[in-house]
């Protein structure tokens, strides 16, 4: 259904950014002679995001819900209609027509809600957190720009528009990570994030091109059409097209959502201000990858191999990131690794076809992870900026509100029963267990489940360790910082509280199918993405995953799984509580002091040396190659040898030519005579040639004397022909035509090879030409 309100959602934050970055300053400088005040800045910034949230909500509740309801009543066949808007034709070249089109269906509706709601909370929080930041307007400008770009990504109706948002958020994360650019480390972190994202975007581009070449269009309608589905199964490089396109798009998602090969930028991205980490590196940008896979569910659904890869990478990332988080001492680094791990969970969710579970975990994660980051911000705010958890402890006395909200988030992420984390993580685990795709290893789903369960245990452990080291035990901070610890102002604690409430409440929108509990989110989302058994949404997909947790496990099985998950959570909390209740545990310390355990600890502490590995394999060789290429190829080969070299050679020849001129007349005259002689000798060689035409059984030869006027020469030339190829010219026929330039004789007499001699009357030198004669065809014989 056509509507022209959707573009307003991303446009508002973009206008906010434009105001804060350029217009505001210009107008105020002109009108009031000074920059706009802080109140104006954050009023515009927060206002635009909230307005965009309001518009989104009105669209969601209004027309979108009607469409959904109509679809829902209509028996849930296929996918429901969406709100679409095409602003203008962006690029139109040859058979490629891309317009700046937006689409709001149930999936993007959910994502917009998350982005705008969490975004506005974080904008509000930032007004407090960044209160004393000199570049206040620039900060809010970038934040608005980011929100706008993210909304374009989510609402885009075709892949290129999504790509605009994709790189836009990459740019904003570059600007915001390197916001405090005076410190070169932060600036480098920003650049690292942008470059790694760019590597992902490169793969995204290739995926897009593959899809276009196969399908002929890039908007979701054509990509979903039956013709496209058929094209996805066409073979390409040994596998299916869908596999390669999916794989390339997934590499792009890895770059953006920090999965195994390309996750290195996220931990360094903590250099940015904490609200930025909350918004970008927890709630919105990093989830773009998951959204993309969910949006392209039809593509992934048609290639189980691609889904296996997505799930596998997700599981691996979840496990590794969790382990890496064990030994981190910086508050935000722990949360960063936790985010990478949780994203792993989401990718497993969408990887095994449980798209709804993946998105559900995305939504819940957005709330509690944002909350965790904001809490970290408020703690660091209190500890005057330092994030080292070893120096904290027992802060619950000073920061009551932060502590209470932190507990909510902590329990949510550990997956304890009433909190949101439990339901979403459980859905994924169930989906993983019962998934089996065509061509998968037998028991692959179960393996995923085991890995995820261990990761869930790890999550509970490191989060509880974090909680204990920060809030429990007595305060280890030195008294100077201890005197400054104070609760954050309302502008920071209110968002925390709201997020805490949601961390609890949001879980109930996706209740498991146990005891007739309604799963609101599943019915809502299945209006626009593939349902677990794909045939109902995409009948054209022949074989694919046949997965539905219910029929596999039945209600009893589901309850069992929920129980196992809960047990894992509690076990993790217990273990961490025992070790770290009174501060950094002596047991871990002395255990890791010596022997084998020490080395493991070191490896885990240094994040498996992945960063150093990348530097040695990728960055250092790149720098060396640049310098080497420039010195060798550019300077030496091209410039020194060819350009200056040729100039040098010409110079030398010039000098030789000048040297010959030694001023003596005799040498000149000598050269004159010698020169004349040489020229005379070289240019007097006569040449002889002849051609023949075969027609009507007779061959006519036409001799052409290279030198001298033919008329004059004919009298005095000595021409000797040898027609029958016997090497001499004294056969009767040849005698007759001696000294004649024209000769005609029947084909029979002509041998396979004819030679002609010509002696020059003046210089008595003879020239000879030998030529094969092609007698059989009726054509004009040319020279070879």
């Amino acid at each position: 259904m056509k509507t022209n309100l959707i573009f307003l959602i991303p446009l508002l934050p973009l206008l906010g950014a434009l105001f804060n970055l350029f217009l505001g300053r210009v107008i105020w400088r002109v009108a009031a002679g000074r920059d706009p005040s802080r109140r104006v800045v954050h009023f515009v910034a927060v206002g635009t995001v909230v307005a965009s949230f309001a518009v989104a909500l009105s669209l969601l509740v209004g027309p979108l819900f009607e469409l959904f309801w109509k679809w829902h009543q209509g028996g849930k066949s296929g996918l429901s209609e969406a709100l679409t808007q095409s602003v203008y034709t962006w690029i139109e070249v040859g058979n490629l027509k891309l317009d700046l089109a937006f689409r709001m269906d149930t999936l993007s509706g959910v994502m917009v809600m998350v982005v705008t709601f969490v975004g506005s909370l974080i904008h509000l929080y930032s007004t407090g957190y960044m209160a004393d930041e000199p570049r206040y307007a620039a900060y809010f400008g970038y934040l608005n720009l980011f929100t706008g770009a993210m909304l374009i990504l989510v609402l885009g109706d075709n892949l290129p528009v999504m790509f605009i948002g994709w790189e836009g958020v990459g740019l904003c994360s570059y600007l915001l990570i390197g916001f405090w650019f005076e410190n070169n480390q932060f600036a480098y972190a920003g650049r690292k994030a942008f470059v790694v994202n760019r590597i992902g975007d490169f793969a995204f581009l290739i995926g897009m091109f593959l899809l276009f070449q196969a399908v002929g269009g890039l908007d979701y309608e054509t990509l979903r059409s039956d013709a496209a589905m058929a094209a996805y199964r066409s073979p390409l490089w040994g596998e299916r097209l869908a596999f390669w396109a999916g794989l390339f798009l997934f590499i792009g998602a890895c770059g953006k959502s920090a999965q195994i090969p390309l996750y290195v930028w996220l931990p360094d991205a903590m250099a940015g201000p904490t609200p930025v980490s909350a918004l970008i590196h927890a709630a919105t940008m990093v989830t773009a990858g998951v959204y993309m896979v969910a949006r392209m569910s039809f593509l992934y659904a048609s290639s189980t191999a691609a889904m296996a890869v997505v799930a596998g990478v997700g599981a691996l990332t979840a496990l590794f990131a969790a382990i890496m988080a064990f030994a981190q001492t910086d508050f935000k680094k722990v949360l960063a690794y936790s985010t990478v791990s949780q994203l792993g969970f989401m990718f497993v969710g969408v990887g095994v076809g449980a798209y709804v579970a993946g998105i559900f975990h995305l939504v819940t994660h957005a709330f509690f992870k944002a909350g965790l980051f904001l809490a970290a911000g408020s703690v660091m705010h209190a500890m005057s900026g330092s994030g080292d958890i070893v120096k904290m402890g027992g802060l619950k006395k000073w920061l009551p509100w932060t502590h209470k909200t932190f507990v909510a988030y902590w329990l949510a992420i550990c997956g304890i029963i009433p909190f949101a984390g439990f339901f979403s993580k459980d859905e994924i685990l169930a989906g993983a267990w019962s998934a089996e795709g065509q061509g998968w290893l037998v028991g692959y789903g179960e393996l995923l489940w085991v890995v995820l369960t261990v990761a869930a245990l790890g999550t509970a452990f490191y989060m509880s360790r974090l909680y204990c080291l920060v809030f429990e035990g007595e305060c280890r901070a030195d008294d100077e910082t201890r005197s400054h610890i104070h609760e954050s102002p309302w502008s920071m604690t209110v968002p925390l509280a709201i997020l805490a409430v949601f961390s609890v409440g949001i879980g109930f929108i996706g209740l498991p199918h146990v005891g007739g509990l309604p799963n609101v989110l599943e019915s809502w989302l299945s209006a626009s993405i593939a349902r677990p058994d794909f045939h109902s949404t995409y009948p054209s997909i022949a074989e694919s995953l046949h997965l539905s947790a219910q029929n596999h496990l039945g209600e009893g099985g589901l309850l069992l799984f929920m129980a196992i998950a809960l047990v894992m959570g509690i076990a993790g909390i217990g273990a961490a509580w025992k070790l770290y209740r009174k501060g950094p545990s002596k047991l871990v310390a002395d255990k890791s002091a010596s022997g084998f355990a020490a080395r493991i600890y070191q490896v885990v502490y240094n994040k498996f040396y992945v960063d150093e590995l990348y530097d040695r394999i990728v960055v250092a060789p790149f720098r060396w190659a640049c310098q080497a290429l420039f010195d060798v190829v550019d300077k030496f080969v091209i410039d020194l040898i060819f350009v200056n070299g040729s100039a040098f050679v010409v110079g030398v020849v010039g000098r030789v030519a000048r040297w010959v001129q030694n001023g003596q007349v005799h040498r000149y005259l000598g050269l004159l005579v010698v020169g004349a002689g040489c020229i005379f000798y070289f240019t007097r060689e006569p040449t002889i040639d002849f051609s023949y035409t075969v027609s009507g059984g007779r061959v006519t030869f036409q001799a052409d004397i290279g030198a001298g006027p033919s008329a004059i020469m004919s009298k005095t030339t000595e021409l000797r022909w040898d027609f029958n190829g016997d090497g001499d010219s004294n056969d009767p026929e040849e005698q007759r035509f001696r000294n004649k330039t024209e000769a005609q004789l029947p084909i029979a007499d002509v041998g396979s090879q004819v030679t002609l001699w010509y002696t020059d009357p003046v210089f008595k030198s003879t020239a000879k030409t030998v030529k094969p004669v092609d007698k059989n065809s009726d054509r004009v014989g040319g020279e070879q």
């Binding site: 070249v93 040859g94 836009g168 005076e182 070169n184 091109f209 036409q702 004009v780």
Partner: protein
Amino acid sequence: MASAWVLPTILGLPLIGAILVMLIPRSEAGLARGFGFGFSLATFCISLAILGYFDSEYGRFQLVVDKEWIPGLNAHFKVGVDGISLWLVILTTFTTPIAILSAYRAVDKHVREFIAAMLILEVGMLGAFVALDMFLFYIFWEVMLIPMYFLIGIWGGKRRIYASIKFVIYTMAGSLLMLVAIFYMYAKHGAITGEYTTDFVALQKNLVLSSEAQFWCFAAFGLAFAIKVPLFPLHTWLPDAHVEAPTAGSVILAGLLLKFGIYGFIRFAMPMFPAGSQAWAPLLAILAVVGIIYGAYVAFAQPDVKKLVAYSSVSHLGFCVLGVFAMTAMGIEGSIYAMLSHGLTTGGLFLAIGVLYERRHTRRLAEFGGLWKQMPVFAGIFLIITLGSAGLPGLSGFIGEFLTIFGTFVASDASIPVPRLLAALAATGVIFGAVYLLYMFQKMMFGPITHEANRTLKDLSGREIAVFLPIVAMVFFMGIYPRPFLKSMEPAVERFMTTYHTKLAQTRDQTYVPGVSPKQARAAESSNPGALVPRLQPAVAASAPAAVAPPADAQAAALQAVAKRATAPPVAVDQAPAPPVAVDQTAGPPVATKIDPQTRVAGVKGALR
């Protein structure tokens, strides 16, 4: 037609400006600058009139002016513009006033000569873009060199003499081979249709050389344009020229002079010699991709920021070359668009470097650092231009690169060897582009202020902002709404592709190129011009093999109304095994020659072969 006045005016105006500026007394530097800027701005306004008259549906040349120039040579002053050259002309008139404005304080000695050189340079460039007569194009092509030579030589840096000589000899060597190719075409066209002309449209229409001659002619044209692009192995003149040229010179050199390479390929080399283009396309495409990656790699290792940007131009223009040889609508329009955006972004980068050079008189990256705090407005503008150059979606760079890579990806195997692999490799250029551009940006803008001098730098003055504003505006506009540009290119590119393929087909099965030997020519002159044809025909018609016997009536119209392939086919096709090879009977370049027995070239063989 009514709009015929536009092109001569935009050519004449800067010329008059240059002459007037030279008459101003030496002391009036300010007046000279005012004149220069005034005239170039006026040219820009008039060039906007072209947009008014331009009808973007019509594929052929528009606003054509065709006046007799040299009767002896039958060379016409013929100018016209079509979808391809339209925006390049606008880019020229758009960039020149900006370059002159940016040089107000940078150039203080010989100001008069500087403005005159810039204006004559503009005339040269505009002339070359709109010329439709090969000879006229060659004249403007060379006229461009001399002012640039003086710009680098007189107002350049320390090694300016080496750089200027290298620039001139490099470009001149290439373009002189092109001159030989023009002679060759001129002579062949005269030999075939009897009427000697250098008018490009006529040459294009009825001159189909043999595939072997096209191979060599394309090589000659290609060398001249490859040097200009600059394509990978022939690029070493660019960094030297850029480092030593004054800012305004660099802006024009990077923004406009480099475009002639690609424009030359699209306008002259490919439509005229499609067989040659197809033969050379694989090598050039691979060199383009190598250029993209090599340019990016080497740019990263440059201590001097101007050299860094120079190598970035090598990388960017690699995309354009790749796009052109992909022979898809997307590829070609993408490469033209990439040229326009490269002109803006690289021009902007050089202006920014110029601003810093004016303040700190150095271009070494290590000297700068932490400027964002000191010059926030400049930093913002510099960031937008750098990102535009890095190809961020929403800015002009992205559209060009996106379409070129896309065009190469979907290209057919016939035009370039492994289109998808090449496109993928070219796309890595996008990554390396981000690497070195952001490396440059971080080294200059981020980090603490290390050098004392950087603490006292003033931010952009009013004039300088006026220089940057149009560029930033265009970078945004061309990124967000590229449609008007792409729409107007569409018909011209379509026509380019159709002429390319029709002529390719013609070359494949064209039979014979009758050359006229001196003996017959003189004999013909003495008797009557008409006689030449019949005299040739009967001697040949009798023996012309059945395969290609022309219909009787076509012979009568033989020489004059020749649509080359239709008539005069005294075929020397060696019927048997060899395929109907196009026999270009003349010696052509000494490498591989095939003499057609029919035209007995008295006395031309022997020593010369």
